[in-house]
Protein backbone atom coordinates (compact mmCIF):
# COMPACT_ATOMS: atom_id res chain seq x y z
CA UNK A 1 0.00 0.00 0.00
CA UNK A 2 1.46 3.32 -1.09
CA UNK A 3 -0.14 6.61 -0.09
CA UNK A 4 0.90 10.03 -1.32
CA UNK A 5 -0.54 13.12 0.32
CA UNK A 6 -0.27 16.61 -1.12
CA UNK A 7 3.28 16.23 -2.44
CA UNK A 8 5.20 19.36 -3.49
CA UNK A 9 8.64 19.53 -5.05
CA UNK A 10 10.39 22.39 -6.83
CA UNK A 11 13.91 22.77 -8.23
CA UNK A 12 16.10 25.85 -8.48
CA UNK A 13 15.65 29.25 -6.94
CA UNK A 14 14.33 32.65 -7.94
CA UNK A 15 13.57 33.12 -11.61
CA UNK A 16 14.87 29.66 -12.47
CA UNK A 17 12.50 27.95 -10.05
CA UNK A 18 10.63 25.07 -11.65
CA UNK A 19 7.74 23.44 -9.84
CA UNK A 20 7.90 19.76 -10.78
CA UNK A 21 5.25 18.37 -8.44
CA UNK A 22 2.48 20.64 -7.25
CA UNK A 23 0.17 18.97 -4.76
CA UNK A 24 0.02 15.35 -5.91
CA UNK A 25 -2.14 12.94 -3.85
CA UNK A 26 -3.14 9.35 -4.65
CA UNK A 27 -3.13 5.81 -3.26
CA UNK A 28 -1.94 2.57 -4.80
CA UNK A 29 -3.59 -0.48 -3.20
CA UNK A 30 -2.32 -3.99 -2.67
CA UNK A 31 -3.39 -6.51 -5.32
CA UNK A 32 -3.93 -3.75 -7.85
CA UNK A 33 -1.93 -2.24 -10.66
CA UNK A 34 -1.92 1.53 -10.48
CA UNK A 35 -0.79 3.49 -13.52
CA UNK A 36 0.75 6.93 -13.27
CA UNK A 37 -0.08 8.41 -16.64
CA UNK A 38 1.09 11.72 -17.97
CA UNK A 39 2.95 13.42 -20.79
CA UNK A 40 6.72 13.85 -20.69
CA UNK A 41 7.75 16.36 -18.04
CA UNK A 42 4.48 16.06 -16.10
CA UNK A 43 6.28 15.19 -12.85
CA UNK A 44 5.96 11.39 -12.88
CA UNK A 45 9.63 10.61 -12.31
CA UNK A 46 9.98 13.26 -9.59
CA UNK A 47 6.91 11.89 -7.80
CA UNK A 48 8.33 8.37 -7.93
CA UNK A 49 11.76 9.58 -6.75
CA UNK A 50 10.09 11.08 -3.70
CA UNK A 51 8.40 7.72 -3.13
CA UNK A 52 11.61 5.75 -2.99
CA UNK A 53 13.23 8.54 -0.91
CA UNK A 54 15.88 9.50 -3.43
CA UNK A 55 14.47 13.01 -3.12
CA UNK A 56 12.88 14.77 -0.21
CA UNK A 57 9.60 16.51 -0.98
CA UNK A 58 9.36 20.20 -0.04
CA UNK A 59 6.09 19.35 1.68
CA UNK A 60 3.57 16.56 1.79
CA UNK A 61 3.72 13.00 3.02
CA UNK A 62 4.63 9.61 1.60
CA UNK A 63 3.41 6.48 3.41
CA UNK A 64 4.44 2.97 2.43
CA UNK A 65 2.54 0.29 4.36
CA UNK A 66 1.80 3.04 6.86
CA UNK A 67 5.47 4.00 7.37
CA UNK A 68 6.31 7.68 6.84
CA UNK A 69 9.17 8.05 4.33
CA UNK A 70 10.37 11.21 6.06
CA UNK A 71 10.63 9.42 9.42
CA UNK A 72 12.17 6.10 8.43
CA UNK A 73 13.41 6.17 4.82
CA UNK A 74 15.43 2.96 5.20
CA UNK A 75 12.36 0.97 6.34
CA UNK A 76 10.39 2.39 3.41
CA UNK A 77 13.07 1.39 0.92
CA UNK A 78 13.09 -2.13 2.45
CA UNK A 79 9.41 -2.51 1.55
CA UNK A 80 9.86 -1.26 -2.00
CA UNK A 81 11.11 -2.91 -5.15
CA UNK A 82 12.25 -0.12 -7.45
CA UNK A 83 13.00 -0.03 -11.16
CA UNK A 84 14.07 3.61 -11.58
CA UNK A 85 14.29 5.61 -14.74
CA UNK A 86 18.07 5.07 -14.55
CA UNK A 87 18.65 1.34 -14.73
CA UNK A 88 22.38 0.97 -15.33
CA UNK A 89 23.95 -2.39 -14.58
CA UNK A 90 27.52 -3.15 -13.55
CA UNK A 91 28.88 -4.30 -16.86
CA UNK A 92 31.93 -6.06 -15.49
CA UNK A 93 29.70 -8.25 -13.30
CA UNK A 94 27.49 -11.08 -14.53
CA UNK A 95 23.70 -10.80 -14.34
CA UNK A 96 23.78 -13.17 -11.36
CA UNK A 97 26.38 -11.03 -9.56
CA UNK A 98 24.33 -7.90 -10.25
CA UNK A 99 21.28 -9.51 -8.69
CA UNK A 100 23.18 -10.96 -5.73
CA UNK A 101 24.77 -7.57 -4.96
CA UNK A 102 21.37 -6.00 -4.37
CA UNK A 103 20.16 -9.07 -2.48
CA UNK A 104 23.06 -8.73 -0.05
CA UNK A 105 22.43 -4.99 0.35
CA UNK A 106 18.93 -5.99 1.44
CA UNK A 107 20.51 -8.29 3.99
CA UNK A 108 18.93 -11.44 2.56
CA UNK A 109 20.39 -14.75 3.70
CA UNK A 110 22.32 -16.74 1.11
CA UNK A 111 19.81 -19.62 1.01
CA UNK A 112 16.84 -17.31 0.42
CA UNK A 113 18.84 -15.30 -2.09
CA UNK A 114 19.45 -18.41 -4.21
CA UNK A 115 15.79 -19.37 -4.15
CA UNK A 116 14.54 -15.90 -5.04
CA UNK A 117 17.09 -15.40 -7.79
CA UNK A 118 16.30 -18.74 -9.42
CA UNK A 119 12.55 -18.15 -9.20
CA UNK A 120 12.92 -14.70 -10.80
CA UNK A 121 15.22 -16.08 -13.50
CA UNK A 122 12.48 -18.54 -14.43
CA UNK A 123 9.68 -16.00 -14.27
CA UNK A 124 11.62 -13.50 -16.41
CA UNK A 125 12.97 -16.21 -18.73
CA UNK A 126 16.55 -15.07 -18.30
CA UNK A 127 18.25 -18.29 -17.22
CA UNK A 128 20.45 -18.34 -20.34
CA UNK A 129 22.00 -14.93 -19.59
CA UNK A 130 22.46 -15.36 -15.85
CA UNK A 131 26.18 -16.10 -15.99
CA UNK A 132 27.11 -13.69 -18.74
CA UNK A 133 28.69 -10.32 -18.00
CA UNK A 134 26.09 -7.67 -18.66
CA UNK A 135 28.34 -5.75 -21.05
CA UNK A 136 26.74 -6.07 -24.47
CA UNK A 137 23.31 -7.08 -23.16
CA UNK A 138 20.34 -6.11 -25.33
CA UNK A 139 17.89 -3.57 -23.96
CA UNK A 140 15.46 -6.36 -23.08
CA UNK A 141 18.14 -8.37 -21.27
CA UNK A 142 19.19 -5.28 -19.33
CA UNK A 143 15.64 -4.55 -18.20
CA UNK A 144 15.13 -8.16 -17.14
CA UNK A 145 18.27 -8.05 -15.04
CA UNK A 146 17.30 -4.69 -13.54
CA UNK A 147 13.85 -6.02 -12.62
CA UNK A 148 15.28 -9.19 -11.11
CA UNK A 149 17.64 -7.25 -8.87
CA UNK A 150 14.84 -4.84 -7.90
CA UNK A 151 12.58 -7.70 -6.82
CA UNK A 152 15.08 -10.11 -5.33
CA UNK A 153 14.04 -9.19 -1.78
CA UNK A 154 10.40 -10.09 -2.49
CA UNK A 155 8.97 -6.61 -1.87
CA UNK A 156 5.31 -6.10 -1.10
CA UNK A 157 5.28 -2.87 -3.11
CA UNK A 158 6.75 -2.46 -6.58
CA UNK A 159 7.50 0.85 -8.29
CA UNK A 160 8.49 0.87 -11.97
CA UNK A 161 9.36 4.05 -13.87
CA UNK A 162 8.44 3.57 -17.53
CA UNK A 163 9.19 -0.17 -17.45
CA UNK A 164 8.51 -0.80 -21.14
CA UNK A 165 10.66 2.10 -22.35
CA UNK A 166 12.83 0.91 -25.22
CA UNK A 167 11.48 -2.63 -25.26
CA UNK A 168 10.35 -4.38 -28.44
CA UNK A 169 6.85 -5.83 -28.85
CA UNK A 170 7.71 -9.27 -27.50
CA UNK A 171 9.52 -7.92 -24.45
CA UNK A 172 6.68 -5.48 -23.80
CA UNK A 173 4.16 -8.32 -23.85
CA UNK A 174 6.31 -10.33 -21.48
CA UNK A 175 6.58 -7.31 -19.18
CA UNK A 176 2.82 -6.89 -19.07
CA UNK A 177 2.40 -10.55 -18.21
CA UNK A 178 4.93 -10.14 -15.44
CA UNK A 179 3.15 -7.11 -13.98
CA UNK A 180 -0.11 -9.08 -13.96
CA UNK A 181 1.51 -12.01 -12.18
CA UNK A 182 2.80 -9.62 -9.50
CA UNK A 183 -0.71 -8.30 -9.07
CA UNK A 184 -1.98 -11.87 -8.76
CA UNK A 185 0.56 -12.41 -5.98
CA UNK A 186 -1.17 -9.62 -4.09
CA UNK A 187 1.52 -6.99 -4.49
CA UNK A 188 0.93 -3.29 -4.82
CA UNK A 189 2.19 -2.42 -8.30
CA UNK A 190 2.70 1.23 -9.26
CA UNK A 191 4.14 2.12 -12.62
CA UNK A 192 4.47 5.23 -14.70
CA UNK A 193 3.93 5.48 -18.40
CA UNK A 194 3.12 7.94 -21.12
CA UNK A 195 1.62 5.22 -23.30
CA UNK A 196 -2.20 5.07 -23.30
CA UNK A 197 -2.77 1.52 -24.48
CA UNK A 198 -0.41 0.12 -21.96
CA UNK A 199 -2.12 1.77 -19.05
CA UNK A 200 -5.58 0.92 -20.40
CA UNK A 201 -4.69 -2.74 -20.83
CA UNK A 202 -3.13 -3.22 -17.41
CA UNK A 203 -4.38 -0.88 -14.78
CA UNK A 204 -7.07 -1.20 -12.19
CA UNK A 205 -6.64 2.42 -11.45
CA UNK A 206 -5.25 5.32 -13.47
CA UNK A 207 -3.79 8.45 -11.94
CA UNK A 208 -3.39 11.09 -14.63
CA UNK A 209 -0.76 13.75 -13.94
CA UNK A 210 -0.28 16.94 -15.93
CA UNK A 211 1.94 19.90 -15.00
CA UNK A 212 2.64 18.49 -11.57
CA UNK A 213 -1.01 18.00 -10.60
CA UNK A 214 -3.36 15.05 -10.50
CA UNK A 215 -6.12 15.71 -13.02
CA UNK A 216 -7.90 12.36 -12.65
CA UNK A 217 -7.78 9.33 -10.36
CA UNK A 218 -10.22 6.67 -11.54
CA UNK A 219 -10.66 3.18 -12.95
CA UNK A 220 -10.36 3.09 -16.77
CA UNK A 221 -14.13 2.70 -17.13
CA UNK A 222 -14.89 5.55 -14.74
CA UNK A 223 -12.39 7.70 -16.62
CA UNK A 224 -14.21 7.11 -19.87
CA UNK A 225 -17.53 7.87 -18.20
CA UNK A 226 -16.18 11.01 -16.54
CA UNK A 227 -14.92 12.55 -19.75
CA UNK A 228 -17.75 11.25 -21.88
CA UNK A 229 -15.25 9.82 -24.37
CA UNK A 230 -15.51 6.16 -25.36
CA UNK A 231 -11.91 6.22 -26.54
CA UNK A 232 -9.43 6.39 -23.65
CA UNK A 233 -6.92 8.31 -25.70
CA UNK A 234 -9.43 11.04 -26.40
CA UNK A 235 -10.28 11.03 -22.70
CA UNK A 236 -6.64 11.51 -21.86
CA UNK A 237 -6.15 14.40 -24.28
CA UNK A 238 -9.24 16.05 -22.87
CA UNK A 239 -7.96 15.64 -19.33
CA UNK A 240 -4.52 17.12 -19.81
CA UNK A 241 -5.90 19.79 -22.13
CA UNK A 242 -3.26 19.28 -24.81
CA UNK A 243 -1.80 16.50 -26.89
CA UNK A 244 1.69 17.74 -26.35
CA UNK A 245 4.16 15.08 -25.23
CA UNK A 246 1.74 12.27 -25.90
CA UNK A 247 3.03 9.16 -27.59
CA UNK A 248 1.14 6.22 -29.00
Amino acid sequence: MIEVRNLHKAFGKGAKRVVAVDGVSFSARDGEITGLLGPNGAGKTTTLRCLYTLMQPDSGQVLVDGIDAAVDPVAVRRRLGVLPDARGLYKRLTARENIDYFARLHGIETQTMHQRREALADALEMRDILDRRTEGFSQGQRVKTAIARALVHDPKNVILDEPTNGLDVMSTRAMRGFLKSMKAEGRCVLFSSHIMQEVAALCDRIVVIARGRVVADESPDALRAQTGEANLEEAFVKLIGTDEGLAA
Binding site: L83, L89, R104
Partner: protein, 391 residues
Protein backbone atom coordinates in the same frame (compact mmCIF):
# COMPACT_ATOMS: atom_id res chain seq x y z
CA UNK B 1 28.21 -3.10 8.84
CA UNK B 2 27.52 -6.01 6.48
CA UNK B 3 26.44 -3.56 3.81
CA UNK B 4 29.78 -1.74 4.05
CA UNK B 5 31.58 -5.04 3.44
CA UNK B 6 29.19 -5.96 0.60
CA UNK B 7 29.86 -2.66 -1.17
CA UNK B 8 33.60 -2.98 -0.52
CA UNK B 9 33.81 -6.52 -1.94
CA UNK B 10 31.73 -5.65 -4.99
CA UNK B 11 33.87 -2.60 -5.84
CA UNK B 12 37.08 -4.59 -5.41
CA UNK B 13 35.81 -7.48 -7.53
CA UNK B 14 34.46 -5.23 -10.25
CA UNK B 15 37.62 -3.18 -10.51
CA UNK B 16 39.91 -6.20 -10.42
CA UNK B 17 38.14 -7.21 -13.64
CA UNK B 18 39.11 -3.95 -15.28
CA UNK B 19 42.47 -4.54 -16.88
CA UNK B 20 43.36 -0.87 -17.14
CA UNK B 21 42.76 -0.29 -13.43
CA UNK B 22 44.74 -3.38 -12.47
CA UNK B 23 47.69 -2.36 -14.63
CA UNK B 24 47.63 1.12 -13.12
CA UNK B 25 47.40 -0.16 -9.56
CA UNK B 26 49.79 -3.08 -9.69
CA UNK B 27 52.23 -1.96 -12.33
CA UNK B 28 52.32 1.60 -13.64
CA UNK B 29 51.55 3.33 -10.35
CA UNK B 30 53.91 1.49 -8.04
CA UNK B 31 56.75 0.67 -10.39
CA UNK B 32 57.18 3.36 -13.01
CA UNK B 33 57.98 6.25 -10.66
CA UNK B 34 60.57 4.52 -8.41
CA UNK B 35 62.14 2.74 -11.37
CA UNK B 36 62.43 5.95 -13.31
CA UNK B 37 63.89 7.57 -10.23
CA UNK B 38 66.46 4.82 -9.73
CA UNK B 39 67.40 4.94 -13.40
CA UNK B 40 67.87 8.70 -13.20
CA UNK B 41 70.03 8.46 -10.09
CA UNK B 42 72.05 5.69 -11.68
CA UNK B 43 72.84 7.81 -14.74
CA UNK B 44 73.74 10.77 -12.51
CA UNK B 45 76.04 8.72 -10.30
CA UNK B 46 77.77 7.06 -13.21
CA UNK B 47 78.35 10.41 -14.85
CA UNK B 48 79.81 11.89 -11.67
CA UNK B 49 82.15 8.93 -11.30
CA UNK B 50 83.30 9.16 -14.90
CA UNK B 51 83.97 12.85 -14.61
CA UNK B 52 86.19 12.53 -11.57
CA UNK B 53 88.33 9.74 -12.97
CA UNK B 54 88.40 10.32 -16.68
CA UNK B 55 91.03 12.53 -18.36
CA UNK B 56 89.96 16.15 -18.64
CA UNK B 57 90.01 17.36 -22.25
CA UNK B 58 91.10 21.00 -22.25
CA UNK B 59 91.41 23.31 -25.23
CA UNK B 60 94.30 25.69 -24.55
CA UNK B 61 95.03 28.88 -26.47
CA UNK B 62 98.67 29.96 -26.35
CA UNK B 63 100.00 26.70 -24.91
CA UNK B 64 103.41 27.51 -26.36
CA UNK B 65 103.84 30.49 -23.94
CA UNK B 66 103.84 28.31 -20.78
CA UNK B 67 105.37 24.89 -21.44
CA UNK B 68 105.97 24.20 -17.72
CA UNK B 69 102.35 24.86 -16.79
CA UNK B 70 101.18 22.66 -19.66
CA UNK B 71 103.49 19.88 -18.53
CA UNK B 72 102.13 20.14 -14.97
CA UNK B 73 98.57 19.92 -16.27
CA UNK B 74 99.40 16.93 -18.42
CA UNK B 75 100.82 15.18 -15.39
CA UNK B 76 97.45 15.63 -13.70
CA UNK B 77 95.50 13.74 -16.33
CA UNK B 78 94.61 16.73 -18.48
CA UNK B 79 94.42 16.18 -22.21
CA UNK B 80 95.65 19.34 -23.91
CA UNK B 81 93.78 20.19 -27.09
CA UNK B 82 94.09 22.92 -29.69
CA UNK B 83 91.90 25.86 -28.86
CA UNK B 84 89.02 26.85 -31.14
CA UNK B 85 89.44 30.09 -33.05
CA UNK B 86 86.83 31.91 -30.91
CA UNK B 87 87.06 30.51 -27.37
CA UNK B 88 84.20 32.57 -25.91
CA UNK B 89 81.85 31.49 -28.65
CA UNK B 90 82.83 27.82 -28.35
CA UNK B 91 81.94 27.91 -24.65
CA UNK B 92 78.67 29.73 -25.24
CA UNK B 93 77.64 27.24 -27.89
CA UNK B 94 78.62 24.32 -25.68
CA UNK B 95 81.34 23.09 -28.05
CA UNK B 96 83.74 23.18 -25.09
CA UNK B 97 83.08 22.95 -21.32
CA UNK B 98 85.99 25.22 -20.41
CA UNK B 99 88.87 26.82 -22.32
CA UNK B 100 92.22 27.99 -20.93
CA UNK B 101 93.91 31.00 -22.57
CA UNK B 102 97.52 31.83 -21.79
CA UNK B 103 98.66 35.40 -22.31
CA UNK B 104 101.40 36.08 -24.83
CA UNK B 105 103.29 37.97 -22.10
CA UNK B 106 103.07 35.02 -19.72
CA UNK B 107 106.73 34.05 -19.92
CA UNK B 108 107.91 37.67 -19.53
CA UNK B 109 105.82 38.26 -16.39
CA UNK B 110 106.73 34.83 -15.02
CA UNK B 111 110.42 35.45 -15.36
CA UNK B 112 110.13 38.85 -13.62
CA UNK B 113 108.22 37.21 -10.76
CA UNK B 114 105.11 39.22 -11.55
CA UNK B 115 101.62 37.64 -11.68
CA UNK B 116 101.37 35.90 -15.02
CA UNK B 117 97.98 36.03 -16.69
CA UNK B 118 95.88 32.97 -17.58
CA UNK B 119 92.18 33.14 -18.43
CA UNK B 120 89.62 30.47 -17.62
CA UNK B 121 86.70 30.82 -20.03
CA UNK B 122 83.53 29.11 -18.84
CA UNK B 123 79.77 29.49 -18.47
CA UNK B 124 78.63 29.27 -14.84
CA UNK B 125 75.03 28.67 -15.84
CA UNK B 126 75.95 25.36 -17.41
CA UNK B 127 75.52 22.69 -14.77
CA UNK B 128 77.56 20.03 -16.55
CA UNK B 129 80.51 22.38 -17.17
CA UNK B 130 80.91 23.12 -13.47
CA UNK B 131 82.88 19.94 -12.71
CA UNK B 132 85.58 20.40 -15.38
CA UNK B 133 85.89 24.11 -14.56
CA UNK B 134 86.36 23.42 -10.88
CA UNK B 135 88.92 20.73 -11.62
CA UNK B 136 90.93 23.10 -13.80
CA UNK B 137 90.89 25.89 -11.19
CA UNK B 138 92.10 23.52 -8.50
CA UNK B 139 94.96 22.41 -10.70
CA UNK B 140 95.89 26.02 -11.49
CA UNK B 141 95.71 27.00 -7.81
CA UNK B 142 97.90 24.07 -6.81
CA UNK B 143 100.44 24.94 -9.50
CA UNK B 144 100.48 28.60 -8.40
CA UNK B 145 100.93 27.72 -4.73
CA UNK B 146 103.69 25.25 -5.46
CA UNK B 147 105.56 27.84 -7.50
CA UNK B 148 105.00 30.50 -4.82
CA UNK B 149 106.42 28.20 -2.15
CA UNK B 150 109.49 27.48 -4.29
CA UNK B 151 110.07 31.21 -4.82
CA UNK B 152 109.91 31.87 -1.08
CA UNK B 153 112.34 29.06 -0.41
CA UNK B 154 114.71 30.53 -3.02
CA UNK B 155 114.68 33.75 -1.03
CA UNK B 156 115.39 31.85 2.17
CA UNK B 157 111.88 32.22 3.63
CA UNK B 158 109.64 29.46 4.87
CA UNK B 159 106.47 28.98 2.82
CA UNK B 160 104.68 28.54 6.16
CA UNK B 161 104.43 32.34 6.60
CA UNK B 162 101.86 32.37 3.81
CA UNK B 163 99.62 30.19 5.94
CA UNK B 164 98.70 32.15 9.07
CA UNK B 165 95.47 30.13 9.38
CA UNK B 166 95.24 26.38 9.42
CA UNK B 167 91.71 25.60 8.23
CA UNK B 168 90.55 22.03 8.56
CA UNK B 169 87.17 20.86 7.26
CA UNK B 170 85.15 18.61 9.57
CA UNK B 171 82.12 17.62 7.46
CA UNK B 172 79.36 16.29 9.69
CA UNK B 173 77.37 14.77 6.89
CA UNK B 174 77.20 11.02 6.79
CA UNK B 175 77.04 8.94 3.66
CA UNK B 176 73.31 8.57 4.37
CA UNK B 177 72.58 12.24 4.92
CA UNK B 178 74.35 13.20 1.71
CA UNK B 179 72.02 10.94 -0.23
CA UNK B 180 69.06 12.64 1.41
CA UNK B 181 69.62 15.69 -0.78
CA UNK B 182 69.54 13.58 -3.87
CA UNK B 183 66.45 11.64 -2.81
CA UNK B 184 64.33 14.57 -1.65
CA UNK B 185 61.80 13.82 -4.36
CA UNK B 186 61.27 10.22 -3.40
CA UNK B 187 58.34 10.82 -0.97
CA UNK B 188 56.54 12.64 -3.79
CA UNK B 189 56.80 9.53 -5.93
CA UNK B 190 55.25 7.45 -3.15
CA UNK B 191 52.42 9.97 -2.74
CA UNK B 192 51.84 10.00 -6.50
CA UNK B 193 51.64 6.21 -6.26
CA UNK B 194 48.77 6.59 -3.77
CA UNK B 195 46.98 9.03 -6.07
CA UNK B 196 47.39 6.87 -9.16
CA UNK B 197 46.27 3.77 -7.28
CA UNK B 198 43.11 5.41 -5.95
CA UNK B 199 42.19 7.52 -8.95
CA UNK B 200 40.43 4.89 -11.07
CA UNK B 201 38.21 3.75 -8.20
CA UNK B 202 37.47 7.22 -6.90
CA UNK B 203 36.09 8.15 -10.31
CA UNK B 204 34.47 4.80 -11.07
CA UNK B 205 32.59 4.59 -7.79
CA UNK B 206 31.00 8.06 -8.01
CA UNK B 207 31.11 10.00 -11.27
CA UNK B 208 31.41 6.77 -13.24
CA UNK B 209 28.56 5.06 -11.45
CA UNK B 210 26.35 8.11 -11.94
CA UNK B 211 27.25 8.34 -15.63
CA UNK B 212 26.41 4.65 -16.11
CA UNK B 213 23.08 5.30 -14.39
CA UNK B 214 23.63 2.68 -11.71
CA UNK B 215 23.86 5.04 -8.75
CA UNK B 216 20.14 5.72 -8.53
CA UNK B 217 19.13 2.04 -8.28
CA UNK B 218 21.97 1.49 -5.80
CA UNK B 219 20.69 4.26 -3.55
CA UNK B 220 17.17 2.80 -3.68
CA UNK B 221 18.44 -0.05 -1.50
CA UNK B 222 17.65 0.07 2.23
CA UNK B 223 21.21 1.02 3.18
CA UNK B 224 22.14 4.39 4.69
CA UNK B 225 24.21 6.36 2.21
CA UNK B 226 27.15 6.73 4.55
CA UNK B 227 27.52 2.94 4.60
CA UNK B 228 27.60 2.80 0.82
CA UNK B 229 30.19 5.58 0.83
CA UNK B 230 32.24 3.81 3.50
CA UNK B 231 32.43 0.66 1.38
CA UNK B 232 33.48 2.64 -1.68
CA UNK B 233 36.09 4.65 0.25
CA UNK B 234 37.40 1.41 1.73
CA UNK B 235 37.86 -0.11 -1.73
CA UNK B 236 39.55 3.04 -3.06
CA UNK B 237 41.87 3.14 -0.05
CA UNK B 238 42.69 -0.55 -0.44
CA UNK B 239 43.78 -0.03 -4.03
CA UNK B 240 45.78 3.07 -3.10
CA UNK B 241 47.55 1.23 -0.27
CA UNK B 242 48.32 -1.75 -2.50
CA UNK B 243 49.93 0.61 -4.96
CA UNK B 244 52.04 2.44 -2.40
CA UNK B 245 53.08 -0.78 -0.63
CA UNK B 246 54.29 -2.23 -3.93
CA UNK B 247 55.95 1.08 -4.68
CA UNK B 248 57.87 1.13 -1.39
CA UNK B 249 58.87 -2.51 -1.76
CA UNK B 250 60.01 -2.02 -5.34
CA UNK B 251 62.13 0.93 -4.33
CA UNK B 252 63.59 -0.86 -1.32
CA UNK B 253 64.67 -3.74 -3.56
CA UNK B 254 65.93 -1.74 -6.54
CA UNK B 255 67.58 0.88 -4.32
CA UNK B 256 69.98 -1.79 -3.06
CA UNK B 257 71.55 -1.94 -6.50
CA UNK B 258 72.37 1.77 -6.77
CA UNK B 259 76.16 2.35 -6.88
CA UNK B 260 75.84 4.97 -4.16
CA UNK B 261 78.80 3.88 -2.02
CA UNK B 262 81.10 4.94 -4.83
CA UNK B 263 80.10 8.56 -4.35
CA UNK B 264 80.10 8.28 -0.59
CA UNK B 265 76.35 7.86 0.04
CA UNK B 266 74.23 5.13 1.49
CA UNK B 267 70.50 4.56 1.90
CA UNK B 268 68.78 2.72 4.72
CA UNK B 269 66.12 0.70 2.97
CA UNK B 270 65.68 -2.25 5.29
CA UNK B 271 62.54 -3.77 6.75
CA UNK B 272 62.28 -0.91 9.24
CA UNK B 273 62.17 1.67 6.45
CA UNK B 274 59.50 -0.31 4.59
CA UNK B 275 57.35 -0.86 7.68
CA UNK B 276 57.50 2.70 9.05
CA UNK B 277 57.03 4.33 5.64
CA UNK B 278 53.94 2.20 5.09
CA UNK B 279 52.74 3.09 8.58
CA UNK B 280 52.76 6.85 7.91
CA UNK B 281 51.40 6.39 4.38
CA UNK B 282 48.32 4.41 5.54
CA UNK B 283 46.26 7.34 6.84
CA UNK B 284 47.47 9.48 3.95
CA UNK B 285 46.10 6.92 1.50
CA UNK B 286 42.73 7.08 3.28
CA UNK B 287 42.78 10.89 3.27
CA UNK B 288 43.66 11.15 -0.42
CA UNK B 289 41.06 8.50 -1.31
CA UNK B 290 38.41 10.57 0.47
CA UNK B 291 39.58 13.77 -1.24
CA UNK B 292 39.58 12.10 -4.65
CA UNK B 293 36.08 10.74 -4.05
CA UNK B 294 34.95 14.18 -2.91
CA UNK B 295 36.30 15.83 -6.05
CA UNK B 296 34.86 13.09 -8.27
CA UNK B 297 31.45 13.47 -6.60
CA UNK B 298 31.43 17.15 -7.52
CA UNK B 299 32.24 16.46 -11.16
CA UNK B 300 29.39 16.21 -13.61
CA UNK B 301 30.97 13.52 -15.74
CA UNK B 302 33.75 10.96 -15.87
CA UNK B 303 35.93 13.21 -18.02
CA UNK B 304 35.41 16.19 -15.78
CA UNK B 305 36.40 14.07 -12.79
CA UNK B 306 39.57 13.00 -14.58
CA UNK B 307 40.52 16.60 -15.25
CA UNK B 308 39.95 17.68 -11.64
CA UNK B 309 41.87 14.71 -10.23
CA UNK B 310 44.76 15.45 -12.58
CA UNK B 311 45.02 18.86 -10.92
CA UNK B 312 44.78 17.29 -7.47
CA UNK B 313 47.87 15.22 -8.34
CA UNK B 314 49.92 18.41 -8.41
CA UNK B 315 49.07 19.42 -4.83
CA UNK B 316 51.46 17.04 -3.02
CA UNK B 317 54.43 18.46 -4.90
CA UNK B 318 54.12 21.66 -2.83
CA UNK B 319 55.71 20.35 0.41
CA UNK B 320 58.31 18.52 -1.66
CA UNK B 321 59.39 21.68 -3.42
CA UNK B 322 59.27 23.65 -0.17
CA UNK B 323 61.61 21.24 1.56
CA UNK B 324 63.95 21.05 -1.42
CA UNK B 325 64.19 24.79 -2.00
CA UNK B 326 64.13 25.82 1.67
CA UNK B 327 65.77 22.99 3.58
CA UNK B 328 64.39 23.96 6.99
CA UNK B 329 65.35 22.17 10.16
CA UNK B 330 62.86 19.45 10.99
CA UNK B 331 60.50 20.62 13.71
CA UNK B 332 57.88 18.70 15.62
CA UNK B 333 54.91 20.58 14.15
CA UNK B 334 55.85 19.39 10.69
CA UNK B 335 54.89 15.84 11.59
CA UNK B 336 51.38 17.05 12.38
CA UNK B 337 50.78 18.41 8.85
CA UNK B 338 49.49 15.79 6.40
CA UNK B 339 51.78 15.41 3.35
CA UNK B 340 54.56 17.43 5.02
CA UNK B 341 54.70 14.95 7.91
CA UNK B 342 55.08 12.01 5.53
CA UNK B 343 57.69 13.90 3.55
CA UNK B 344 59.79 14.66 6.61
CA UNK B 345 59.41 11.17 8.07
CA UNK B 346 60.36 9.33 4.88
CA UNK B 347 63.36 11.60 4.27
CA UNK B 348 64.67 11.11 7.79
CA UNK B 349 64.11 7.36 7.70
CA UNK B 350 65.97 7.14 4.43
CA UNK B 351 68.89 9.21 5.70
CA UNK B 352 69.08 7.01 8.75
CA UNK B 353 68.24 9.94 11.06
CA UNK B 354 66.33 9.01 14.21
CA UNK B 355 62.56 9.53 14.14
CA UNK B 356 60.95 9.47 17.58
CA UNK B 357 58.06 7.08 18.11
CA UNK B 358 56.01 10.03 19.32
CA UNK B 359 56.67 11.84 16.04
CA UNK B 360 55.55 8.80 14.05
CA UNK B 361 52.39 8.55 16.11
CA UNK B 362 51.76 12.30 15.75
CA UNK B 363 52.12 12.00 11.98
CA UNK B 364 49.79 8.99 11.86
CA UNK B 365 47.17 10.47 14.19
CA UNK B 366 46.97 13.92 12.60
CA UNK B 367 46.70 12.52 9.08
CA UNK B 368 44.10 10.04 10.31
CA UNK B 369 42.04 12.90 11.73
CA UNK B 370 42.37 14.77 8.42
CA UNK B 371 41.25 11.60 6.62
CA UNK B 372 38.22 11.36 8.87
CA UNK B 373 37.33 15.00 8.20
CA UNK B 374 37.67 14.49 4.46
CA UNK B 375 35.43 11.41 4.71
CA UNK B 376 32.81 13.36 6.70
CA UNK B 377 32.72 16.17 4.13
CA UNK B 378 32.41 13.57 1.37
CA UNK B 379 29.57 11.90 3.27
CA UNK B 380 27.80 15.27 3.40
CA UNK B 381 28.08 15.60 -0.37
CA UNK B 382 26.81 12.02 -0.66
CA UNK B 383 23.64 12.98 1.13
CA UNK B 384 22.78 15.73 -1.31
CA UNK B 385 19.96 15.03 -3.74
CA UNK B 386 21.97 16.20 -6.69
CA UNK B 387 24.45 13.36 -6.30
CA UNK B 388 22.37 10.50 -7.66
CA UNK B 389 20.66 12.28 -10.51
CA UNK B 390 22.41 11.88 -13.81
CA UNK B 391 22.06 14.53 -16.49
Amino acid sequence: MNSVITVFLKEVRENLRDRRTVINTLFTGPLIAPLLFVLMINVMVTRELNKAEAPLPLPVAGAQYAPNLIAALKQNNVEIKDAPADAERAVREQDADVVLRIDADFAKAWDKGEPAQVEVIFDSSRQDARGPTERLRKLLDAYGQRTGALRLLARGLSPIILKPLAVADRDQSTPQSRSGLMFGFLPYFFIIGVLIGGMALAIDTTAGERERQSLEPLLANPVPRWQILAGKLGATTAFAITTVALSILAFAVVGQFLPLQKIGMTLTLGARFVALTLFVMLPLAAMLAALQTLVAAFAKSYREAQTYLGLLNLVPIIPTLLLTILPIKTQTWMYAVPLLGQQVTILRLMRGDPVADSALLLCFACTAVAALLAALVTAKIYHSERLAISA
